[in-house]
């Protein structure tokens, strides 16, 4: 075992120092943090674009930008948020920080590959930024790159899709790494039913990353090939079928939404028992439902295409299967709620964010049922109803999951605690702002406000105004939260090994953890949610 007096901050494990020690590190914790910083920066950029969208939409007609700019802004907003922020967020950042320690391992199975993934991620991100300033201008296709428009437009789509390809590759390698780690590097005694649920969720996520992402890879490569060679695979004038593109795109991108949500569900499954001080309700059901979501989630892609002109038979099948995926999510929600029953609950910030997750995700998920039902989807497809649905599940779900994870785990890695009171205040502002921002969008969506509209009919203005005001409140909440975390991690009170009194292995190591994670052989045979005899040690 390694020298236990130095944390991974001080001990880089190599002779290099300073920034070079970070850029060449193979330590999963450092890599996790490097992911986090870039994700955070891009998240803020994406949020600002969101803010700009809202500002433009506060009134019909031109407010702050012209139509072409608007189109590139929502495209960037979508591409950044989906491919650069949310897909890597919890797995690559928090997953890297937490997963190996939860398993009692020193690192992931392929540490160098892990660093390589990070470089791919950075390369993809940079290339995406390059696409903004070169060629025919920033892409204006929406994050879905639908053909034939994406083949005709003269903006810089080619570079953007290559960026997406590289980001996808990075995601694949991370998933591959985690699956192998979970199979091979569990500490002695860590049987499959003792793996913490966060890691379980990353396991399911890993499989989606490995099996679905390549399809995205080939899809974007085909766009590139079409733009360069003009083969015409999707061009009806040359015999191609544009709807096939949509199939390929969604074969990846529907499972991708579960890449986004599963890890957040894992976070919540790990947090709730800690603050209720009792075992999670239905461990096996939650673990198994993750796998179910991963598998069944691969079978529903065409629910994004109910109005695309595909056959009615396909609508029937895919609508039915979509409802099947809702079941494992429902099981999880019920189990989380049941975990609180007869607990001894203390509402600390991580729990608060986790509960916020449950509510917002439920709203998003339940409106997903409207979308999954064929007749109703025809009406609300490509309207603000969908926009609201996915912000509730992605931002309300994954976003709040990420915030919960940050409040839960980061003190461990920075060794310092944030101000809990401010964290709670930030939560309430966020929560109010969030609903004010997105709830009105459901209503104007139902009234028929199409998405990706630069300008709109006057009857929708009221909803847009409320929503824009909501975005400002939300912005205040985010700023307070981020500043509080940042202040906490630089100047906050020092914390001990186990500030929350949690039972998984990452809390059994020194704070911050040493380079190879453990100063003594961890006892991995203990159940992950058995809190008897564990007390918080702040």
């Amino acid at each position: 075992m390694s020298n236990n007096s130095l944390s991974f901050w001080e001990d880089s494990g190599s002779s290099r120092s300073g920034i070079m020690a970070w850029l060449t590190t193979t330590d999963h914790k450092r890599i996790g943090l490097m992911y986090m910083y870039i994700i955070l920066a891009m998240f803020i950029a994406g949020l600002c674009l969101g803010l700009a969208i809202r500002l433009e939409l506060i009134a019909p007609g031109r407010t702050i930008m012209d139509a072409q700019t608007y189109n590139t802004v929502f495209t960037l907003h979508g591409v950044i948020m989906i491919f650069i922020v949310v897909i890597p967020s919890i797995p690559a950042a928090i997953g890297n920080l937490v997963l190996p320690i939860q398993l009692g391992a020193e690192d992931v199975a392929f540490p160098r590959l892990n660093l390589f993934s990070w470089y791919l991620y950075v390369g993809g991100t940079l290339l995406a930024l390059v696409s903004l300033f070169t060629g025919g201008g920033a892409p204006d296709t929406g994050w879905t790159f639908y053909v034939p428009f994406s083949e005709f437009t003269t903006t810089n789509v080619s570079v953007a899709v290559i960026a997406v390809f590289i980001l996808g590759f990075s995601s694949i390698l991370t998933g591959l790494n985690f699956i192998t780690t979970i199979h091979r590097l569990r500490a002695p005694g860590m049987t499959w039913t003792k793996i913490p649920l966060f890691t379980w969720s990353l396991y399911a996520t890993g499989w989606i990353q490995v099996l679905a992402t390549p399809v995205l890879g080939i899809t974007v490569l085909l766009i590139f090939a079409e733009r360069v060679l003009g083969v015409g695979l999707f061009d009806p004038n040359k015999g191609g079928d544009p709807i096939l593109y949509q199939h390929l795109f969604w074969i990846y991108s529907h499972p991708a939404v579960y890449i986004m949500i599963l890890p957040a569900m894992g976070v919540v499954s790990d947090i709730i028992p800690v603050f209720a001080r009792k075992p999670i309700f239905g461990y096996k059901a939650i673990a198994f439902s993750s796998l179910m979501i991963a598998f069944a989630g691969s079978l529903v892609w065409a629910h994004h295409m109910f109005t695309s002109g595909m056959s009615d038979t396909a609508v029937l099948i895919f609508s039915l299967l979509t409802f099947v995926v809702a079941i494992p999510s429902a099981i999880k929600v019920f189990n989380w709620t049941a975990t609180l029953y007869k607990g001894s609950i203390s509402v600390e910030p991580p729990l608060l964010y986790a509960l916020g997750f449950i509510f917002l995700f439920s709203v998003g998920g339940l409106t997903g049922l409207i979308l999954g039902s064929a007749g109703t989807d025809v009406h609300v497809h490509d309207t603000y109803f969908v926009v609201s649905h996915f912000h509730y599940v992605i931002f309300g779900g994954t976003g709040f999951g990420m915030f919960a994870a940050a409040h839960f785990w980061l003190p461990k890695y920075y060794g310092r605690m944030y101000n809990k009171k401010i964290a709670k205040i930030a939560f309430y502002i966020l929560f109010v702002g969030f609903n004010l921002l997105y709830f009105p969008l459901f209503i104007i969506g139902l009234e028929g406000m199409p998405r990706r509209y630069y300008d709109y009919l006057p009857q929708y203005q009221e909803g847009h105004v409320i929503s824009t005001v909501g975005s400002w409140i939300l912005a205040v909440g985010i700023i307070i939260m981020l500043v509080n975390l940042w202040r906490g991690f630089t100047k906050g009170e020092k914390v001990g090994r186990n500030p929350w009194g949690a039972a998984t292995l990452e809390w059994a190591t020194p704070t911050p953890p040493p380079l190879l994670n453990f100063d003594e052989e961890p006892d991995a045979s203990r159940k992950p949610y058995d809190f008897r005899g564990i007390t918080p040690d702040e």
Partner: protein
Amino acid sequence: MDTTLIDAVSKVDTAFKFIFGISFIILFLITAVTLYFLYRYSRKRNPEPSQIEGNLVAELIWTIVPCIIVGAMFWYGWVGYKALREAPADSYEVKCTARMWSWKFEYPNGKTSDKLYVPADTPIKVDLTSVDVIHSFYVAAFRVKMDTVPGMHTYVWFNSGEPAEYEIQCAEYCGVRHSYMLSKVVVVPKEEFDKWLNASSSATEAPNEGEEVMKKHGCFDCHTTDGTELVGPSFKDIYGRDTVVMENGKEKTVKADDAYIEKSILEPGADIVKGYEDMMPPTEVSKEELAKMLEYFKGGGKPAVRAGAKGAEVAEREGCTGCHSVDGSEMVGPSFKGLMDRKTTVLKDGKKMEVTANVEYIISSIKHPSEYVVDGFEPSMPEYESLSDDDMKALIEYISTLK
């Protein structure tokens, strides 16, 4: 109204209500239970947690019950969907072609328009296709939406119901003017629809605006346009004629010019046409409305044929105005205003050159836009090779009026 026809909308709405209803109940229960637990089992009230790891019965219940619930949701949704797809066999069929960024509707007799005119109380089936990228035909009021896919034909159907107007919006992102790709479904009474459909002159294609205004104010309750007499004199050929009126009981002949007509509308009691009673109510009309009416009268009950009016229509119908403004502002392409005979810098095969936009140039720009691409614009204009000579002439005439 035939009740089977409103079915699709109501079936879809039933699905909405069912899913929203259940979702609301579930959300409410989960939230309430969570809040109760937070209160009841807070550390203060319940310092000792119970070690419950699970409960098979409970878990089975909340697996099976949701299965049943979502099964029902699926069913309602599917029933709604089926209703949206099964167009009655006797539907009135209109063809719709979408293109950047306008809609073109073609009726069985070959007539085309840029708004969708349909007879009231009829099932309408719209056959959809696109010539460039994917658009989506969306009429919220009828709960219908369907992508228009190039190279493919899709359809929607709806029951037109009572005379009214509904918004058509393009619901699939299609480029810079996506949000302006709007039109209307105009439901008109059956007879009126037939009349409109069979009117040969394309100049009356859209019911003209003056007529529209007068309809609104109910003028036609008392006046006709075909020379027959109702309560008031007919509007036929009214403009410019000599009219005998009674002013304070004295006969007087006046010329029916703008001032006269205006006065007749605003102060009907001032001079009464001989042989009629002082029955006409004063009407509140705006300046614009007045202007429209005057134009209507000038046309002898038909709108005046302005120079280029036909071209304007063609431009509208062919979607030119989706990309070109007529007021000098720059949209996707250069404005038509002042286009004729201006000097333009264009790119031909990548080389810059100066050209004068004479008639030949404009024709070539319309038929083969990619040959000369105006500097500073994308070569995104579609080719209009199949434009008829008539339409082309009209367009040129129209463009040359826009000084």
